[in-house]
């Protein structure tokens, strides 16, 4: 059953991903040890790690959350750290005023709303553990604070971003509260909990709800985009979208890949803002000597810096080792997998799974020729295979001169007789050779930017899109075009839009 309104995106209570919990306790409690990633089970990637349709509570999760909460509380209340959340100086184990202050401050940050007096009183009851007459058990003021933290960190109001909203004229549509908007804004743009300023804007005693105003949301979003965490968030989005979040390889090379891709995103999006499409067409890249040698480019002055691609056939992020290493198979490139990557992630075309009687764990079987592309061609000779593979393999063939690590080559590894001419085709859009020409074909298709925006919206709403949400992608696309493809302007426009401040029930739990 689809949601009722096309103008509003459906939402449910989304559980924080492991990365979001880690960032939240880092920012609010000063715990920098990534406790959720150490203790909680891995998130499922579809391709993003925040897909709420995959979140099912289990006994294993509940036990792990309890352990995580204990683990965090112990660290946060170590004598050297506790001043961060306990601002008052307790006069003794039973200092109720100081405890109350801690409950109110920490509770508001962790629950992203202010606590009612009744709620504060409930936590105050924990002070009996600080004051009880029990000589054989060490306990003090901080014992109660620790229990409070453990309870809050296991609370569904911390773990889930619960959006309730208030009724509007349309019975299906709800308007988010200031706190709910603050939370949406912060987790979307910086991947962490709203800071005190956002919470204050959401609801200051007696003042109207500032975040209901689009211009205020835009201003706050602008502030958040200047935060280094916004860069991390954009890097994470690209890593999951383009599939390079944890690519294999040696440590030094991985670090160089990562620095290269990060530098390009930062430059295009933040430091020298230009058309987002420059990410795909950039004529230079940021390398160190290791990576320059890997790509066959001239070494940068000073051991690290920007160098020109020149006439190498490379351009933009599709030439990066990070992206070329993703979607590989058996330590070699897979033309089919690279084709699937381009079709699904860059053009948003669906690719049907192969028929059941095909064993996709294996590359095409050996033929009379030792050459890989001959094997791929042979397996397209059957009409039933060709119907799908003709849409996939020619794309990968056009990238075959670039190996899994982004090295240029003119023949199969170890087979000089198997020449690679790099000729490929983007089905429906003509022939190309190498990443630079592919990027241009993708841009010319008009599909790349739309597909990027569709993924951006998926990341924002935490699930695949409902068909009715194509209208939202249209809106994003017109904002994108009007801003000369500025990613930050597109984000600001989305945040300022009505859609961002509204919700409707997702009928599917």
């Amino acid at each position: 059953m689809p949601p009722q309104s096309a103008a509003v995106s459906a939402s449910v209570a989304r559980r924080l991903s492991r990365a979001e919990i880690d960032a939240t306790v880092r920012d609010l409690l000063g715990d920098t040890t990534n406790p959720a990633s150490r203790i909680l089970a891995e998130d499922e990637y579809t391709p993003f790690d925040n897909d709420y349709t995959r979140q099912k509570p289990s006994a294993a999760l509940i036990d792990a959350l309890e352990a995580t909460a204990d683990d965090i509380a112990t660290r946060v209340l170590a004598p050297a750290n506790r001043g961060r959340i306990v601002a008052c100086a307790p006069s003794g184990p039973g200092d109720a005023a100081c405890f109350r202050q801690v409950i109110e401050t920490v509770g508001r940050r962790l629950f992203r709303r202010s606590l009612s007096n009744e709620e504060v009183t409930a936590y105050l009851s924990l002070q009996s553990f600080a004051t009880e007459n029990n000589p054989s058990v060490p306990h003090d003021f901080f014992t109660a604070v620790g229990l409070m933290l453990r309870s809050m960190l296991q609370d569904p109001e911390f773990l889930y971003r619960i959006e309730i909203g208030t009724p509007t004229g349309d019975p299906a549509v709800l308007r988010l509260s200031g706190y709910e908007i603050a939370t949406r804004l912060s987790y979307f743009l910086v991947g962490s909990a709203p800071d005190d300023r956002l919470l204050d804007l959401a609801q200051k005693d007696g003042t109207p709800d500032a975040l209901a105003k689009p211009e205020q949301r835009r201003a706050e979003a602008k502030r958040l985009l200047a935060d280094p965490r916004a860069r991390d968030q954009i890097h994470r989005f690209h890593a999951m979208w383009l599939g390079y979040r944890a690519i294999p390889g040696g440590t030094d090379l991985l670090a160089a890949f990562n620095a290269e891709t990060t530098a390009l995103i930062d430059k295009v999006v933040f430091d020298q803002p230009s058309s987002y499409l420059d990410l795909f067409t950039s004529s230079q890249t940021y390398v160190n000597n290791l990576l320059a040698d890997q790509y066959g480019l001239s070494r940068p002055a000073g051991g690290a810096g920007w160098v020109a691609y020149g006439t190498t056939g490379r351009a933009g992020i599709l030439s990066h080792g990070a992206v070329l290493a993703a979607f590989s198979k058996f330590s070699d490139t897979s033309p089919t997998q690279r084709g699937i990557f381009v079709q699904t992630r860059l053009l948003c075309n669906s690719v049907q799974p192969p028929p059941a009687n095909v064993n996709v764990d294996q590359p095409p079987p050996a033929t009379a020729s030792a050459c890989k592309l001959d094997r791929y061609a042979a397996h397209r000779s059957s009409a039933s295979c060709a119907s799908c593979h003709d849409n996939l393999d020619p794309i990968g063939t056009g990238l075959e001169q670039y190996d899994v690590g982004g090295k240029f080559r003119t023949h199969d590894d170890g087979h000089p007789e198997c020449a690679l001419d790099g000729a490929g085709a983007l089905p429906g859009y003509g022939t190309f050779k190498g990443p630079a020409e592919l990027a241009q074909k993708l841009i010319d298709s008009g599909r790349l930017e739309r597909c990027f925006l569709e993924h951006l919206l998926r990341y924002a709403v935490g699930r695949g899109l409902y068909p009715a949400e194509q209208g939202a992608v249209d809106t994003l696309a017109s904002g994108f075009a009007a801003s000369h493809e500025s990613l930050t302007e597109t984000l600001l426009g989305y945040v300022a839009s009505d859609r961002f401040a509204l919700r409707q029930e997702d009928p599917t739990p």
Binding site: V12, R38, I39, A41, E42, D43, E44, Y45, P47, K56, P57, S58, A59, A60, L61, I62, D63, A64, A67, E119, A122, L126, F129, S136, V137, H139, L147, R150, S151, Q154, D155, P156, E157, L159, Y160, I162, I164, G243, R245, A246, I247, P248, G249, A325, A326, F327, S328, K329, F330, S331, D332, A356, N357, N359, D361, Q362, E505, D506, T508, P509
Partner: protein, 510 residues
Amino acid sequence: MKKVRLSRRAVLRGVGGVAVGLPVLECMLDRHGEALAQSATPLPKRYAIVFAGQALGGDDWADNTSMVLGKRSTDKAAFIVPPETGAGYSVTLPLKPLADRNLMADFSLVSGLRIPWSASSVEAADVPAGGAFRDFHGGGAGPLLCGTRSQSASFTCRSATSDQIVAGFNKPGSIGALVVRAQPAWYLSGSSFSGRQYISYKGSAAPVEAQTSPSIVYHSLFDGFTPSDSSARAQHDFDLRARKSVLSLISDKRNRLMGTVGATDKVRLERHFDEIRDLELRIAAMPPDVGGQCQAPKDPGPDLPVGGNNAGSGSDQIATNTGYSDEATRARLLADLIHMAFVCDITRVATLQITVFQSHMNVFPISDALGVPIRADLHECGHNGDAMTRGQIPVSTCLQWHVGHYAYLLDKLKNTPEGAGNVLDNSAIIFMPEAGHGQQLNDATSPNATHSVEKMVLLVAGRAGGLKPGRHIATPQAHPGQVLVSAMQAVGYTKDTLGEVTGGVKDLFG
């Protein structure tokens, strides 16, 4: 022996009506040591599955052909199935850990198992009852675990698995099946477990998430044990009260919160609150008193670090320090906890998934330790091995590593006296590899395939319910589910079916 009058309930301190397990003390047994004296309640019967996410042989390598470090061999004893049937059969390479621990008489090897599939159609509608959808790996998982035919390539079960069925009629307290997994991470970039991490299902498409942290398993099972010295006891009492207060502050707000959220969120959040309530019930359930063989195990300490993704994207490039989280130690720690949970009668059912379906755990560390260094992950070991090492010996070496953990658990159960015998005598413990080594399920033609639900093997250890171990039972293509039916019957199952599979392998009983 002097008999002390002691009712089973007498040692239960009253708590909110939650039934709990108790260790069996010798003074509670009857003269034969086979049942509890006062109530004539039989000794608890335990059921466990130890799972290995791999096949029995390598793609395109016959059972007796291998290459190790470039040297080819035709060692017939590398394949798990011995040539002889009955008792006293020869020890094959994967079974070596069982022989080393003198356990050959304590389990039966059931071979020739086959999950049915249609050779003429790949359509879901044509999958036979209890059969496999023609796409490995996913198609084979469901029928293997729950006996009901699969309908797609997804990793799922369409009915309850045997462990959950047994836990339904055979649980000592509030804890049902103990579901744990040694492999904590998927290790491949760009994808995630997607169902490969489940071997226990409460019903159709209702998987039970496994706990992967030995530390958390330890605390959830044994924190209730009351220490003997008085200051530790005071701390224990304090911690328990504090823990309950922490949780009740959450559950107390349930109704208020549920009154504010929409219908869909109510369903989502109720699921979460239900799990918290279950945790509270588990804590409230009186812990077993330490006594006899039941002793709190050693705290496993903080969990070992989780290894990063595989360094190689396939064979040949595997390094030694990625794609591996010391599953060897994790499996041992989890086996220790299962053992003591059984001994103390906290639970009678457990599943230990050592590696996940289609596992990409780096096998270099484990295979190197066994003298056959394989630079590949477990999945690749079956398909291609590495350039120099492939075929039966490498695959059987990985299998031997899995069997080693099974043997370790059996050995501990066997060396724990209970009644007139030992805990293994009152158990049915299964070893279950993911695949066989027959015709390929996908193309229906290639022989010696890892993607095969033919020539499968299960091991069944223990003597519960009259199981008669110590033999190789070669079946004419029995369904693996039939082996499970017999094992379930050995621990008290009164029906004759598992999903769509009917009947057992009666030879297991002699």
